[in-house]
């Protein structure tokens, strides 16, 4: 399966290599660099690159390429999914998965990789098991370790791997027993210039942070489970019960995990919580253009729209923009032509707007007037799909846990501004 792994940073240096079988020379990465050069953008490097003797499968996360070398047929998604799992594990261990973090913890990284794959086949990928094997580094532990010379490697041998619930450690103990569930929904939408929705769908996840003693058995039920069009579960969820009763029943892993991700289909009407009005005009022959953009809330059920960030790729001909923001700050990068406007919170009484003029390259032809506008926002305490958790029960343990549920709606891939021609125009 996976022969070797190379980590490549954005400047094209291999800063870590690990081999599970015979050593593969790092020169194999030259093929990768070639492809990297050919690609205009970093994310355009093809994930699978064939070379004469090997295949390179890479993922790009946090500006690091994780390049896996394989020699024979293997489902590419298998490798890709595994590499992402590796990154997730690193993130879990070191807080963030940057080149510096990996370099600082190179030994832990190596130990982790050793445990995660055996002869190129995934062995232990559950973070609970790994944490039992190798303790994540903390500042305190590093200090203690340097003084006492004790180790990161777990003293006792891991038992989780052997149990029937491999995702949960045994012997978990907490003084405060808590279970938090975050229902986070993201709206993916394409909205055209006139404000009508081209496509909109809701992708939701329930992230849980469960800190409960012993072996609790939880059930979570929804007020309106019918909303969920398509779901995927953490392996701990009992599928049969979901099928039969639409109840999530599970023995949770310890700590943070993603319980469920779901999809609310585009067939259902999605309430779009914000609207954008914009007007960008260029006059033929003049080197000036006008820019106007107004944001407003829409169908937010009284909740405030926060952390609003608008970004737009302006046409190449734009040299500079001289704008005036009624609130927040804006930046324009004259090189990448990227305009970003950090709006903050939308006040329904006084709608934020960004107005001003743009200067154009002299002599250039009239640029396209409909750049894409990408909007990010957050709405706390609301799940836009209307999904509601009904109750959470715990069985199998005596104590009473503290339970918390939080809702949030975010913009996912939310884009607007492109003008959709009418069918008639096409036919004309």
């Amino acid at each position: 399966m996976i022969h070797s792994l190379f980590l490549v940073n954005s400047s094209g240096d291999i800063f870590l290599e690990k081999h599970w079988k015979s050593v593969v020379s790092r020169s194999v990465c030259d093929y990768f660099f070639e492809a990297q050069e050919r690609a205009s953008e970093p994310e355009n490097v093809p994930p699978v690159i064939p070379t004469p003797h090997h295949y390179l499968i890479s993922v790009l996360r946090h500006r690091i390429y994780f390049v896996a070398v394989i020699q024979s047929e293997v489902p590419p998604l298998f490798v890709i999914e595994f590499l992402h799992r590796v990154v997730d594990t690193f993130q879990d261990y070191f807080g963030l998965c940057t080149e510096a973090a990996i370099k600082d913890n190179v030994v832990v990284v190596y130990e982790l990789l050793e445990e995660m794959l055996d002869n190129g086949f995934p062995l232990a990928t559950e973070s609970n098991i790994l944490k039992e094997l190798i303790k994540p580094p903390t500042i305190l532990r590093t200090v203690v370790n340097t003084i006492t010379g004790s180790t990161n490697v777990g003293e006792q041998l891991p038992t989780g791997q052997l149990s029937v619930v491999p995702w949960r450690r045994t012997g978990v103990k907490y003084t405060n027993n808590e279970a938090y569930f975050d229902v986070v929904e993201e709206i993916d939408a394409i909205i055209d210039k006139s404000g009508s929705t081209i496509t909109a769908e809701i992708q939701g996840v329930i992230d849980a942070c469960v800190k409960l003693t012993g072996m609790p058995d939880l059930t979570l039920s929804f007020m309106n489970p019918r909303l969920l069009d398509d779901v995927s579960f953490h392996p701990c969820v009992r599928f049969k019960r979901w099928e039969a009763e639409r109840i999530l029943s599970f023995i949770p892993p310890d700590g943070n995990f993603r319980l469920l991700s779901y999809h609310v289909s585009s067939q259902n009407l999605v309430a779009i919580p914000v609207y954008v009005k914009h007007n960008i005009t260029f006059r033929e022959g003049s080197s000036q253009g006008r820019f106007e953009l107004t944001l407003g809330p829409k169908q937010t059920m009284g909740k405030a729209v926060e952390s609003v960030l608008v970004s737009s790729q302006l046409p190449r001909g734009v040299l500079n923009a001289n704008l005036n923001a009624s609130q927040g700050t804006y930046t324009f990068d004259p090189v990448t032509k990227l305009l970003t406007w950090d709006v903050g919170k939308i006040n329904p009484q006084k709608l934020p707007s960004l107005k001003g003029s743009m200067s154009l390259q002299a002599g250039a032809s009239k640029p396209d007037e409909n750049p894409t506008i990408i909007i990010q926002f957050k709405i706390q305490q609301m799940a836009i799909s209307g999904l509601k958790v009904n109750r959470l029960d715990m069985y199998g343990e005596k104590y009473k846990p503290f339970k918390g549920i939080k809702y949030m709606t975010k913009a996912g891939k939310f884009q607007t501004g492109m003008q959709r021609p009418h069918v008639s125009c096409v036919k004309a």
Partner: protein, 993 residues
């Protein structure tokens, strides 16, 4: 530092060494110093030493041997985890000398107590194989052994080993096939991927193509219904196998098992698992069922862009074959400006594949938007996509062409160039109507610089010079001027154009052509020189040029077939989807071809396992003896596990509800009454196996009928499938039973003594019932004895008639709760009675298969007129929607009953009744049978009506029990048998409670 005594120093040193390894620096010099520490007590040091060893042992084989003894010791450790890790490192050291040691260790570990060690052994197999392929035979033995392992932990790893070592030995899978299918859902995710991929291949070799003919199975009826009877299952399976070769297609039950068990995995969080299931469905499932994967695949589109990339590639392939599958998700493939280019292009591909007459306008509108994108590669791809839509869908060709022509005035040259190329292809299809477009394009030659586009224009003009006779020479003139500065590809087209013009319009262009050819003659590119020479010989008439020049016109101006714009993903599906080879569209090393479906199915009996070895549930009722033994221990449940039909489950339910009753039943059956009409339970106990099987077959027949029958009649269908639901249904009735059985027994006891018939069913039943009551001394609410007596008096005479009933197909009486004039307690009594009986008499030998009889009107209630009805399960010929209800009137009085007919039906909306013809006369003691039809509209609502005699009216109601609503379906014997075999397999049988 490594020589230091302090662990902390050693650790520090090892960490530095590992950091060196990680950076790719050579640390092999330190080998001797490191190896010494292999026996170190400190776990972390030990682990790091292992890391080092695994990395460098290959290079320093001799020194590595020093460490072997430590591992050998570790292999004997009482702690399973230490054993496992020792084996793991031992097998990871690639030193050929230790092959025998490894072999031995693997063999030992393969029979280790701990599944974890066995898993590690499975992992070690491919390592050893890659080190020394000659060990293959021995390793296969180990694999065979491990494949038989029943733990989920091992399954994934051993299949992986199987795939690496001996993927061709498909025969090893046979015995483990069902086990793997059943374990699948509990295997860890990586193992799932490997197993599913392997099973896909396996299924391709072992089962028939489900899409061979259009006779697709209805999935609805597919779900298991039978199951427990494994003993006979084997024989029947073999039979089914023999039949499977013949058409029409019936899915092998094992095939179905695989599909059923993988389906939930579509919900996995692991994209690789979802993809694996998707490809399995794509390659194996009947057309009608493949659709389920679309939703899951669309979900994956939300994932990381690399995942999207792979998924889209596969979706693109799927959309070519099964366009309908993804059509509902069209909008999910709309392109966002933030997508990376490679994703955009793949999405475009999918959108193009999805385009059809209905959605083309929306798709084209999207495409129009995309053309404005700043990503030029993407724009070019979009224009190509428009071209493909235009060729595929005739109606929009003109629209597209117009759109593309508009693009010709685009400011961006790339867009224009790409449009030209596409327009060229489109025009080739119908050049006649579009000479103005050609003219327009001719004008463009002045501006467009992209060689490919220029070449395209020139070719177009040359090809259709007759449509543009005035412009063509002019273009040639211009081109001749710039000839020397053109790209090669353009030059070739100029020569081409010149030649064609020369042939059609030699008057105007002769000199120009000569000029161009002369220029070409001295061109640097030999291709162009060759072409020029060739053309000159061909077209310019000289003395020498012979036969060919006559045909020059034919050669050049032959009608060229229009190009077919095809998806690059066409025919990619000969690679297994989801595989690396599919992605690259080239065979990757180690790729296992996906075999074609076999013409005839290989013998499925190879998958039969000694029942005990297979799935635990199956073993339970494998042997009759066993069951009997159990009966002795626990007479209680004896019958409940016998069959899987709804009736038994209800039976067991009621049994447990009223303990006394059940006890009696089993006793009764134990005592061995011979009565033919006795209930199923006792019967089955008395009769030998064959008989039972025989009967079961019959039952199955009818049951299958039920299942098969109504795709429409979902109510019955569903509930049948899960007898649990049935139980619920009955549960309410059970309440009434306690008191019911009690009174009933007394009542009947009395009648028995008077009528003194020993063989009648009612007797044996009552006898045992009362027996049980007495023995158990568990009297529940005693109903007023007076009442009971009253009833029994009435019954006295009727007993003889009752016996008549006994020779009827279905003897057990049942009362429907409509006896509104009886005391409530009696009603419950009767209800109870009815319940017991329905429950206990699920099948008897009846002409029409086994049929249950219900009582419509009790003889007491009916003042001597007893009416029973049953669902004859035969088509009701006057109206196919109606269910045939056979009604049996028995006159238990001394007087004649006249003018029996139905009156005043009170029906739920939509329900209809076809009344039976009036019965003029029913003499005392006689019985008569009529058939009426009721359309229950697939509901279980009761049909209420009045039953009238010449003196009285009775309110009665017929409520169809689930499973009785059916529609006739014609089926050959073979079909039936196969169905039957399948059913059995599908159902995880009901085990002993």
């Amino acid at each position: 530092m490594l020589d230091s005594n302090k662990d902390s120093l050693k650790l520090e040193a090892m960490k530095r060494i590992v950091a060196m390894i990680a950076r790719g620096k050579n640390a092999s010099d330190l080998f001797p110093a490191v190896v010494k520490n292999v026996a170190c007590k400190n776990i972390e040091v030990k682990k790091l030493v292992y890391v080092y060893l695994v990395r460098y042992a290959e290079e320093q084989q001799d020194l590595a041997l020093l460490s072997i003894s430590t591992f050998q010791r570790g292999l004997k450790d009482p702690n399973q985890l230490i054993r496992a890790s020792a084996l793991r490192v031992l097998s990871s050291i690639r030193v050929t000398i230790i092959v025998p040691i490894m072999m031995l260790a693997i063999k030992e570990a393969a029979s280790d107590m701990s599944p974890y060690v066995r898993k590690t052994a499975a992992h070690a197999i491919p390592k050893l194989y890659s080190l020394d392929p000659e060990q293959k035979d021995q390793l296969i033995e180990v694999i065979e052994k491990l494949l038989a392992d029943k733990t989920t932990l091992v399954a994934g790893s051993v299949v992986m080993a199987f795939e690496e070592v001996c993927p061709e030995r498909i025969d090893l899978i046979h015995k483990n096939y069902r086990k793997l299918c059943n374990l699948l859902i509990d295997v860890e995710e990586w193992g799932q991927v490997v197993i599913i991929n392997m099973l896909t291949r396996y299924a391709r070799t072992q089962f028939l193509n489900p899409n061979v003919n259009e006779s697709l199975l209805e999935e609805s009826g597919e779900k298991a219904f039978y199951g427990s009877d494994d003993e006979e299952g084997k024989e029947e399976k073999a039979e089914a196998a023999a039949l499977a070769k013949r058409k029409p297609y019936v899915m092998d039950p094992d095939h179905r098992l695989l599909l059923r068990n993988t389906k939930p995995l579509l919900q996995s969080r692991n994209a690789a698992v979802v993809m694996a299931v998707a490809q399995l469905y794509f390659h194996l499932a009947p057309k009608a069922e493949v659709g389920v994967i679309a939703k899951a695949l669309v979900r994956l589109m939300r994932s990381h862009s690399e995942v999207q990339y792979v998924v889209l590639q596969n979706v693109a392939t799927m959309t070519i074959k099964r366009r309908g599958m993804f059509e509902p998700y069209l909008k999910s493939f709309y392109i966002r400006s933030t997508d990376p280019t490679q994703i955009k292009i793949l999405k475009l591909e999918v959108l193009t594949n999805l385009a059809n007459e209905t959605n083309i306008s929306t798709i084209l509108r999207e495409f129009q938007t995309y053309i404005k994108s700043m990503d030029k590669d993407f724009v070019a791809a979009t224009i190509q996509a428009i071209g493909r839509c235009a060729t595929n869908i005739g109606e929009v060709r003109d629209t597209c062409l117009n759109g593309l022509v508009q693009l010709l005035s685009n400011r961006d040259e790339l867009v224009v160039a790409e449009s030209v190329v596409v327009i060229k292809k489109l025009l080739q299809m119908q050049p006649e109507q579009h000479s103005d477009i050609i003219k327009h394009m001719a004008k463009l030659t002045d501006n467009i610089q992209v060689p490919m586009a220029r070449a395209s224009i020139l070719w177009l003009i040359g090809e259709y010079c007759e449509h543009v006779p005035k412009i063509a020479p002019d273009v040639l003139r211009k081109m001749a001027k710039t000839f020397t500065n053109e790209e090669d590809i353009v030059k070739l087209q100029i020569i081409n154009l010149a030649a064609k013009l020369y042939l059609t319009n030699s008057k105007q262009t002769k000199l120009l052509t000569q000029y161009v050819l002369n220029l070409a003659k001295y061109d640097q590119n030999y291709d162009i020189r060759d072409r020029a020479r060739f053309i000159r010989q061909l077209i310019v008439p000289t003395d020498k040029s012979g036969a060919l020049s006559k045909y020059a016109k034919k050669l050049f101006l032959a009608l060229k077939p229009a190009p077919v714009l095809e998806s690059p993903f066409k025919d990619r599906d000969h690679f297994q989807l989801g595989s690396l080879s599919h992605l690259l569209n080239a065979k990757a090393g180690g790729y296992q071809e996906l075999p074609d479906w076999p013409e005839t199915a290989p013998d499925p009996s190879v998958r039969n396992v000694e029942v005990k070895d297979s799935v635990p549930e199956w073993t339970k009722c494998s042997s009759r003896e066993k069951r009997k033994e159990k009966k002795v221990e626990k007479p209680f449940y004896s019958d409940s596990e016998e069959e899987s039909g709804p009736t038994e489950s209800a039976d067991s339910e009621s049994d447990s509800a009223s303990g006394s009753g059940s006890g009696s039943e089993s006793e009764e059956s134990g005592s061995g009454s011979e009565s033919e009409e006795s209930r199923e339970e006792s019967e089955s106990e008395q009769e030998d196996k064959e008989d039972e099987e025989d009967k079961r077959k019959k039952k199955k027949k009818t049951d299958r009928g039920k299942v098969k029958a109504p795709a429409v009649e979902t109510t019955s269908g569903k509930i049948e499938e899960s007898s649990g639901a049935e139980e619920k249904n009955r549960a309410q009735k059970v309440k009434g039973r306690r008191s019911g059985s009690e009174s009933e027994s007394e009542e009947e006891e009395e009648s028995e003594s008077e009528s003194s018939r020993s063989e009648s069913e009612s007797e044996s039943e009552s006898e045992s019932d009362t027996d049980a009551k007495k023995k158990k001394k568990a009297p529940v609410t005693k109903p007023p004895p007076k009442q009971a007596k009253k009833e029994s008096k009435k019954e006295k005479k009727e007993m003889s008639l009752l016996d008549l009933d006994d020779f009827e197909p279905t003897p057990s009486p049942q009362v429907t709760p409509v006896n509104n004039f009886l005391s409530s307690s009696l009603v419950t009594d009767l209800e109870g009675l009815s319940l017991t009986d329905t429950v206990m008499a699920p099948t008897t030998i009846a002409p029409s298969g086994s049929v249950k009889t219900y009582e419509l009107l009790h003889r007491i209630t009916g003042e001597g007129l007893g009416v029973e009805y049953c669902f004859s399960r035969q088509p009701f010929s006057p109206d196919a929607h109606m269910v045939a209800v056979q009604i049996m009137f028995t006159n238990n009085t001394n007087a004649e009953t006249k003018n029996l007919h139905v009156e005043d039906p009170k029906l739920q909306s939509g329900m209809r009744i076809k009344e039976f013809p009036e019965i003029e006369l029913l003499p005392p003691g006689e019985m008569v049978t009529v058939v009426m039809g009721i359309d229950f509209c697939d509901s279980t609502q009761a049909a209420n009506f009045q039953l009238c005699t010449h003196i009285r009216k009775f309110f009665v109601s017929i409520q169809p029990p689930v499973g009785e609503l059916m529609m006739p379906v014609f089926m050959t014997e073979n079909e039936f048998k196969k169905e039957q075999g399948e059913k059995k397999k599908l159902n995880p049988s009901y085990s002993i409670v």
